[in-house]
Symmetry: C2
């Protein structure tokens, strides 16, 4: 189980020794191979990359029995080691999930290729023409938990954006990821792209993660996907830039000039459309002047959906039977049918609350007031800021990115949903006719 | 000398104790003040920011005697501690350099304000309208060496881009930076912006740097300016994203389809226009088929300028009297009148050399061949890639950025010359009419 292979196909071999030192050496070797593959991927043309995506989809379809067998091993190991039902559910690779992976590959093949896009090409007084060209980042390291479909999502986004990638999934999905990696390798090979363009780390040795985030010479950026603990640990230890996705403590503010129907619909949808997602509302802020009008109707609707409410004193003066919200509530991402509610004096008080407690993911104001909408949009410092729309729209598909590798709560490089463009960089290009500096 | 003040005006006070613990506490206090100021700066309008830049310029002009007196102290301390002539030259604040700072402030006031710029606003099938808004990064920490004019450059770029900044200059320039900081504070105050928007660390205690790069809660990005050692140390230790500017090992490749006159002019200009700059050529690559034609004329011109040449064996077969270039030469940023020359088989060999030895700063090809120009542009992975132009153009002013805070050799966030845009981020904005996710 401690062996590592470039393609994941040697998963059951016991060739590689299991000491930490050798895991680090093996990660270095993967890094070198990734760096070499990145150069070839950067110049791969759009048609070849799309052909690879389709070939991988065909392999997944053809290898359903192998995928099922590998996943069955992981599921059995998971049950034996007492994984809870939610984790087992994420781990399972049903036929429907394989269909979704195949569909996802097709969708990414349809997206425009970001690589080589030239923008802002302008003549300068010196006579040179200066612009920017979009290029791959190089080698992207992705660290994630137990859902095997992330292996295909991440690999296909990196492939389309011309990057090489090293994927490190959760140990629970080791066999499933190995079987998926074999499909990816076969697809790459069919179209003549290097199999080392997508490498899956096939060991549960934790030293592999430590090595992956400490090789700036081979890895250009790390994208961790998972719980806050994992992401903070990686950010603290990494010697490579990290695109972080921390909490989603999202707010909706119902202004006293809100349209009541929009306010009701958005406040209900932002909380109850799905609970365990980062773009769900966790705190509702309501202007004092409309609290008595808005809150009872909303509370009844939340109650119908089984949402537990916790409120500030002013909220509890209106909704008598709910629990008080504590200081801890304002800073909590529930990811559950729980909502904290605060009555605020006005939009400024709402923005103060957001500045203090928001995780910088997504905030929405519901208002018909032009100047307030403009101010909220300009002054709230979150990755997504909305007027009269549900926070649930903060999503790569909804924004038109086609797919996302994560949602960044960072301000550097990529912010909000990260799609193909977030996996690229722009270099400067200069066209001259022999110009020199005088 | 170990006191720290928010504005630098208490430079000679001895209020703050000099222990490391208290330096860290003081840096934390500066961080908190910067974070609070950043919120106000983010919403400052263009006219106010421009008025501040002009007020600072007027202060610099009015306080020439104070600037001269403070600088004289630094110069005397420098001479007493045996600083070399080059360092003393950088440290000196002549009237001409004050003129240049005043002029620079005026130029930055003239630049368009990047904050609030909205782009790519598009309707999605759900009915929401999604786009991006350019916003300040927040708090920018800048660590630099002894040139006091960097204090004004950095402060003015951060101010115009709506950021708060904490500046930490070299200890040799402590008095000069204190006097400049007083002018900045006075200018900010005149227009009603927070004086803590620009804070200058007024201590030579090295613990201040350690604290500055370890406060992700207060500092959003660090820009180190200085030698490779300083930048690598900061990158390794920082817990905050760093925009790095490492070496400029720049290459010019003279293709066998180069126009001879363009080849001669560009190869000469890229090396000899200025020596101590990061965008000067350090290695010349020449296609074998034209080496005998191009090299003797170029060698004579370099000799006239006093440039020492070092060559590969094939170069030395043409230019008999030059020293051999060693493996070390290919990886060296000379910043001096020294040039290494390598004769290569063709463009592919030139690109292989660049991939191996370039620092990713700037490379140029001289060719009249359409397909080669296109390939070089697409395949060379450096911050600036040029066709038929001198590497000396890789510069914020020449690219039209107006000014630059540095030249990034990173791929993440900002690449190449970093101007106002590099000090901003883009958030997603969503305009709706009550849309919810179905």
């Amino acid at each position: 189980m401690n062996s590592i292979s470039a393609t994941g196909v040697e998963l059951d071999s016991t060739v590689a020794p299991s000491t930490h030192a050798s895991t680090e050496e093996t990660m270095q070797a993967m890094g070198r191979a990734a760096r070499a593959a990145a150069r070839l991927m950067a110049r791969a043309d759009t048609a070849t990359k799309n052909a690879a995506l389709k070939a991988i989809a065909a392999e997944l379809d053809a290898q359903r029995p192998q995928l099922a067998a590998a996943n069955a091993k992981d599921m059995q190991n998971g049950r034996d080691s007492g994984l809870d039902a939610a984790l087992l559910d994420r781990l399972e690779l049903t036929d429907g999930r394989i269909d979704a992976m195949i569909q996802g590959l097709g969708q990414i093949a349809e997206l425009p290729d970001p690589v080589g896009e030239i923008s802002d090409l302008k003549f300068r007084p010196s006579g040179i023409q200066v612009g920017k060209m979009r290029v791959p980042l190089g080698v992207v390291g992705i660290i994630y938990e137990s859902r095997p479909n992330v292996t295909i999502d991440a690999a296909s986004l990196c492939l389309k954006s011309g990057n090489a990638t090293i994927l490190r999934g959760g140990k629970e999905a080791l066999h499933s990821n190995g079987a998926i990696a074999a499909c990816i390798a076969a697809g790459l090979k069919q179209v003549g792209l290097p199999e080392t363009a997508v490498q899956v780390v096939a060991t549960s040795d934790r030293a592999a993660v430590g090595a992956l985030i400490s090789m700036p010479e081979y890895v250009d950026v790390i994208v961790p996907r998972g719980g806050r603990g994992l992401i903070e640990r990686i950010s603290n230890d990494a010697r490579v830039p990290v695109i972080k996705h921390l909490d989603g403590i999202c707010h909706v503010y119902l202004d006293d000039r809100a349209d009541p129907l929009k306010a009701f619909n958005i406040a209900l949808n932002a909380k109850t459309h799905r609970y365990g997602v980062c773009n769900a509302m966790e705190t509702l802020l309501v202007a004092e002047a409309v609290a008595t009008e808005f809150l009872p109707k909303l509370a009844a609707a939340y109650s119908d959906k089984g949402v537990e409410l916790r409120g500030c004193d002013k909220t509890r003066a209106i909704l008598a039977d709910i629990l008080p919200a504590t200081e801890e509530d304002w800073g909590t991402e529930y990811l559950a049918p729980v909502l904290s509610i605060r009555v605020v004096a006005d939009m400024d008080a709402a923005m103060d609350h957001i500045t203090r407690y928001s995780s910088g993911h997504t905030e929405s104001i519901v208002t018909e007031d032009y100047s307030r909408a403009r101010r909220f949009m300009a002054e709230v410092d979150s990755a997504s800021v909305m007027v009269n729309a549900s926070t649930r729209f903060a999503d790569g598909f909804e924004y038109g990115l086609g797919a996302e590798i994560g949602i960044s709560t960072d301000k550097i490089h990529a912010r909000g949903p990260v799609g193909l463009e977030g996996l690229t960089s722009q270099k400067w290009i200069v066209f001259g006719d022999g110009q020199i500096r005088e």
